[in-house]
Amino acid sequence: MLDDTTAPLLEVRDLRAWYAESQALQGVTFDVRPGELVTLIGRNGAGKTTTLRSIMGIVKNRKGSIRFEGNELIGRRTFQIARLGLAYCPEERGIFSSLSVRENLTLPPHLKSGGMSDEELLKAFPNLRARAGSRGTSLSGGEQQMLAIARILRNGCRFLLLDEPSEGLAPVIVKEIGAQLRRLKAQGYTILLVEQNLNFARSVADRHVVIEHGAVVDQLSNEDLAADMDRVKTYLGV
């Protein structure tokens, strides 16, 4: 567990975001420190995905402040934000049907030093090797998720934003993804994870940020979550 005094890698302050006239985020504030795995949890439509998309600049109409390694992200475009060292894996996985598994895997350019080589990626995700020539979308849901995570490790970004990687997957695959995330954390990656699966979130995270109606309503450590599941289940409505 990291010391609370460690300087944050990502600082989100009073983040507000809009889809056309509709305000989706009402003022989200939280930090992520280096090496942490933090989850954003909350009900459907609470604003978790919008928070990730706002950080990446995909939601363009946003106000407040998002600082990454001291650089303000508001006002920057998505590709500029990525080049600062943030990698994003969307909820729908973003596997390209017109590209083979290998093309999908090798699509992200090397943005920073320390990115995994193609061989290292295939070693870390061995299932993808046998399917390298297949269309990306011919993979099973679990394999597609592995591919989506694997390819963002190529560009050398050390801060990963993952949107519900466990969604719709069989328990055995979810377990495997959890193991991968723990390995990445052990390798020094910092991860911000949107998650609705509370058990999965508990199994991988250091801290949890609870979002409701576009605002942060609670933050708790993984130990606190384990001790007070009822409180969190109330937030999630489960």
Binding site: I58, R77, T78, F79, G94, S97, T106, L107, P109
Partner: protein
Amino acid sequence: MFDGITPQLLFGQLLIGVINGSFYAMLAMGLAIIFGLMHVVNFAHGAQYMLGAFVAWLLLSTFGVPYWGALILAPLVVAIFGIAMERLILKPIANLDHLYSLLVTYAATLVIEGLIRQQYGSTGLPYSSPLPGGVNLGFMFMPWYRLWVVVFSVVTCLATWLLIEHTKLGAYLRAANESPEVVESFGINVPRMMTLTYGFGVGLAGLSGVLAAPIYQVSPSMGSSLMITIFAVVVIGGMGSIAGAILTGYTLGIVEGLTKVFYPEAANLVIFFIMLLALIFRPSGLFSGTEKS
């Protein structure tokens, strides 16, 4: 029925068909690239083709730049014009329905053609062939320049197809067509890539215009008279299918040429009749779904 069809007539029309097919293929390929990768219905493609021919003519008549120099310079000039067009009038409507890009580029066509017509008149301007003469094949006379056009067009189409379908750059373009947000989140400047794609497609139209200048008269309406046929080629091949546009372009050029031999009355209709059949029996186009994109 086939009385009076001499080998000279048959192969002569076949050659004209292949020549026309070369232009259909190159223009349809540019349209397919722009539509397939950017979802822009570029109605200005014919005007940009005409600009290529006019720039070649201007380079020769004003600056003394010969055909071979114009073959490089004119497409570049037209591509830069296309990039400016994309920035100024297409980017602001990028998130709107495809219909808006069609209307805007149609308006641009009228403006470009009107300006050229006002400046240079409607009469065609001559552009002499850089490769005069030809070879007698026994059954027909093959002009060198027309042979050059066919070979150059096939090489250009093949090279462009390889670029889009089998290179990393092509993979970026195809991926950005599916999900620009995800590609941009990889750190790739997708808006710039789209601008350059439009410039490339427009440059191909300009290149076709330079190739056409010595064969057809250089006139303001040379593009618009061709555009309806080119759109038909793209629809038959499958909107956005690059291989479909190329293969359909050559095939329909030949079919049109052969129709002129066997049933000349239908020569101007045959492509549209095939389009009708394609829309009834395979509305997504003959080649849609047969390639990566």
